[in-house]
Subunit: 368 residues, 2 copies
C-alpha cells in the first residue's frame, strides 16, 4: 500500500520509518557526526530523516556557498509548531548559515482560499515572531511569492515546459490550476537561491515536515532537467516530525482549540494545557500502578520539543511518568510554568519588534 | 459540429461567419459608423468581428481611459501577417490610443519550446519592425512576459484560484502545465492594464486573429469573477482574418517558403511571389475566357491587405482579374513592384532604428 504525502492536507504521518523505504529518505543518524553543533532536535530525532544533507554539510565545511531555504504559509496564527521551525532556523544561523524565507502567500490565497488582507496580517505576525525568536534580519532574506523579482517568476514559467500533468498528478494526486501553479512556484522557491541573481548558492538545504516531501521530489526532478540550461543542482532536505496538537493530531491553526498560539493570553494557554490529551491512565490509582505512557502524551511532546532542553531533565520527567511517580495534573502545571517563561520572553520581544518598525524595513510587503 | 479554436495550433478558419453563431462574436458592420476614421481593414472586412467594440468606442469618445492590448509571440521571423497587425496598431495610435504590447516570450519558451536566446532575437527583430512601421515609442509600452512587475505575476497567481481544469479544458482542449501557465498568463496580459499600477485603463481592446478567441473568453470569465475583488471589467476584442501564406494556408514562420518575411532579400521575395498560389486557370486561354478567381488568390490577398489601399484601384484589379483581362504572371510582377516599394521603406527604417539603440531604451529585455 502506498503512502500519499499531501502537502495541502493535514495527513498525520504516524509511521515515519515508512518514508525511508518508500521515498528514499535517509535516516538522520549517520549524518549527525558531521554537524558542527548538535541541536536537541537532532539528538531527539525530531529531525529524523534527510536527503543529501551529508553532501550539504560537507560542502558547507569546505566553505562552499551553502544556504537554507525555508517557507511559511500565512494561513493562520503562529503556533508552537512554527516556533519549532523558527528555533531550528536560529540554530542554523548560529552555525553561520544565511537563510532565505518565502512567505507562501500566493498559495495561501489560491489553494487555501484566504482573503488577501488576512494573509498579509498573518504574514506580518509570522515575520515579527521570526525576528522575536532571534532570526537575524541581516542574515535572513524574506520575500513574498507575490512580490519578488521577475527572474523568480521566469523560473516558474520555464519549469512549466519540462513537467507533465501526468507526472505531477503521480506526485500530488488530482490537480487543479491553483495547485499546479502552487507546485511550480514551490519549485522556484526551492531552486532560485542557486541563481547568481539570488546569491548563487550552490548548496540549498530545505528543512521541512514530511508532508512537504512531494515539493522536494518535484524540485529534484526539475533540477535534473535544468542542469545544463540553468546549471541547477538537486536541493538537500531534512524532515522533521510535527509537534502534535493537544488532541494528538498535527498542530494546526484550523483547529485552534488544540493548538497553542504564541499570541494566546497566558490564561488561555493554561486552560489548553490543562485539557491536553496525555498518556495518563483512567484513574490515579491505575496510573500510580502502571505508570503513564509518555509516547502518547502531547504534554510530553512539549517537554521533548521545548520545555526540557536538558537531556537529563527530560530523562527524569520520562522516568517519573512511566514509574507512576507523577500524575498528569501536576505534570501539566509544571509544563505550563515552563511554557509561560518561554512565552513571556517571546511576547515581550514581539512587542519590541512590532514597535520598532523593522519588519517593514527588511521585508517588501505586497500592495494588495 | 463544434469548431475548436486552438490558439496554439495553426488551424485555418475558413468560415468566419460560423464564429458569429457559435461563440457570440458580433459582425463588425454595425460598429463602423462609430469609428473616427475608417481604416481599409474595416471597410474590407479584414477585421470582421468583435465583442463589445461598440462599448469601447463609446467610452473612448466620452474621453474615458481606453487602451489597446496587443501581443506578439517571438517564435519566428516577422512576416507580412505581423505587418498587418502593426499597421492596425499604427492606425489606433493615429486616432490617439496608447498601446500596451506583450512579448509572449514565456509562451514561446514553454509551449513552442524554442531556446531562450532565439526567442530574444526574434523579439528584438519584432520590436524593431514595430518601431520601423511607425509605432510611437512614447505611446507604446512594450514588456516581456518573463520580465515584468510583480503585480502582473500576482494576477496570474490570483487567477489560478478561480478557474478549474475542467473549464479550461472545455475552452482549450487537453492541457499540460505549460499551457495552463500560458493561458493564465495571457489572461493577466489582457486584464492587467485595468489596474491602477498599470495605468488604470477601464476599457481595454484586444485586436486578435480569430484563433486567439479562447484567450478572450477565458479572460472575460476571469474578469467577471474578479469584478468585486479587483474591479475588473470584461475586455473588448476585434477579430481579423489572417493573411494567407503563399500556399493558401495561414501565413506562418513555420512554413518559411510560403511566408514573406520583412527581412527577406528582394530577390527572394520576388521568387516567392512568382510561385504563389493564385486563382488562375489551368491555361492562359481558359483564363482569358473564364477570368481568374481572386477569392482563391494569395496575390489578391496582398492587394487587398497592403498593395492597393485605394478602393477604386483595388476594384480595378479585381475586375481585370475576373474578366480575364490580366494573367497571373503579369499581376504577380505588378504585386512584386508594389511590395518592393513598401519593403524598401521598411527595410531602410529598420536599419535606422537598429542603429539608433532606441529598442534598448524603451524595452527592458530579460537577462536570460
Amino acid at each position: 500500500m502506498s503512502t500519499i504525502l499531501d502537502p495541502w492536507g493535514h495527513f498525520a504521518i504516524e509511521e515515519y520509518e515508512k518514508l525511508f523505504k518508500q521515498f528514499g529518505i535517509e535516516p538522520i543518524d549517520k549524518v549527525l557526526n558531521k554537524l558542527p553543533k548538535l541541536h536537541r532536535f537532532f539528538k531527539r530525532r525530531i529531525i529524523f530523516g534527510h536527503r543529501d544533507f551529508d553532501k550539504w554539510l560537507d560542502a558547507m565545511k569546505k566553505g562552499e556557498k551553502a544556504t537554507i531555504l525555508t517557507g511559511f504559509m500565512p494561513s493562520g496564527h503562529v503556533h508552537l509548531g512554527h516556533y519549532a521551525v523558527l528555533e531550528e532556523l536560529r540554530y542554523y544561523q548560529e552555525i553561520g548559515i544565511d537563510i532565505t524565507m518565502v512567505i507562501a502567500d500566493a498559495e495561501a490565497y489560491a489553494v487555501r482560499r484566504l482573503p488577501r488582507e488576512k494573509i498579509l496580517e498573518y504574514a506580518r505576525e509570522y515575520i515579527t515572531y521570526a525576528l522575536a525568536i532571534g532570526l537575524d534580519p541581516g542574515k535572513t532574506k524574506i520575500y513574498f511569492q507575490t512580490n519578488y523579482k521577475p527572474i523568480y517568476y521566469r523560473l516558474i514559467q520555464m519549469f512549466s515546459r519540462k513537467v507533465t500533468l501526468a507526472e505531477m498528478e503521480a506526485i500530488y494526486g488530482k490537480l487543479e490550476p491553483s495547485k499546479i501553479m502552487a507546485a511550480l512556484t514551490q519549485a522556484a522557491d526551492i531552486l532560485h537561491p542557486q541563481l547568481k541573481e539570488f546569491g548563487g548558492y550552490e548548496w540549498v538545504l530545505v528543512p521541512v515536515g514530511a508532508d512537504q516531501d512531494p515539493h522536494l521530489r518535484l524540485s529534484r526532478d526539475i533540477a535534473d532537467r535544468f542542469k545544463n540550461e540553468l546549471g541547477l543542482k538537486r536541493p538537500a532536505s531534512t524532515y522533521h516530525k510535527f509537534i502534535r496538537g493537544l488532541d494528538g493530531n498535527k498542530m494546526s491553526s484550523s483547529k485552534p482549540e488544540y493548538a497553542i498560539f504564541l499570541s494566546d493570553p497566558l490564561d488561555v494557554v493554561r486552560s489548553k494545557v490543562m485539557k491536553a490529551l496525555t498518556g495518563g491512565r483512567a484513574t490515579a490509582e491505575e496510573q500510580r500502578k502502571l505508570g503513564g505512557e509518555p509516547d502518547k502524551c502531547t504534554v510530553y511532546d512539549m517537554y521533548m520539543y521545548y520545555l526540557a532542553p536538558d537531556d537529563k531533565d527530560l530523562h527524569k520527567i520520562y522516568t517519573e511518568c512511566i514509574n507512576g511517580e507523577i500524575l498528569c495534573g501536576m505534570c501539566k502545571r509544571r509544563a505550563f510554568e515552563r511554557l509561560k517563561e518561554i512565552l513571556n520572553v517571546i511576547k515581550e520581544k514581539y512587542v519590541k519588534i512590532s514597535e520598532s518598525g523593522i519588519v517593514d524595513e527588511v521585508v517588501d510587503f505586497p500592495s494588495f
